[in-house]
Symmetry: C2
Subunit: 107 residues, 2 copies
């Protein structure tokens, strides 16, 4: 199960987590839960600036968290696989449990 990870592997894993470590990028991933979206659609759904969103999308793509295809002049992005959301949900679950624990303290 839990074999040791090499420093190089840890570097790669850290890189992927870093791609998930910005609210704007998580917001983009949330928008992509509904399905494939063009950059323009992502802009209107997230309120991000064009240049900014484009860079974030490059980061997500570089981290293998999203895939993309060109359709005419526009680029359509989609989640790379279901595990991307699973990661977010796992982390979200941790938060909820912490919140519940805090609540219990003051009950």
């Amino acid at each position: 199960m839990g074999r040791a990870l090499s420093p190089e592997q840890l570097g790669h894993i850290a890189e992927r987590f870093k791609a998930l470590s910005e609210p704007s990028r998580l917001e983009i991933l949330q928008a992509l839960r509904q399905g494939e979206r063009s950059v323009t659609e992502i802009l209107s759904e997230t309120g991000l600036g064009q240049a900014n969103a484009s860079r974030h999308l490059q980061v997500l793509f570089g981290a293998g968290l999203v895939e993309r295809r060109k359709e005419g002049p526009s680029t359509l992005y989609r989640l790379a696989d279901p595990d991307v959301l699973k990661l977010c949900e796992l982390m979200c679950g941790r938060l909820e449990r912490e919140a519940a624990a805090r609540k219990k303290l003051f009950a």
Copy 2:
């Protein structure tokens, strides 16, 4: 299942992922897989500097990824729960699948 997450929640989730986005901190978590460890033990297992490791441990603690208790003059750190490793393993699995896919391309 997949309810929408508020911007505030996304910020908190991003914060947690950021704590996982540095190789040194992942290395610390790996060391803690074996069980509770003092800071000094972590230093020798990871090779990190004292001040550096202490700061990383504060980050991990602030993110709720590790817990700690004081025993005499030393502080003992441990993983907060098994989901911490589950997150790392999920991400690691993604990497392996990508590597396998790349390999297939050149086969």
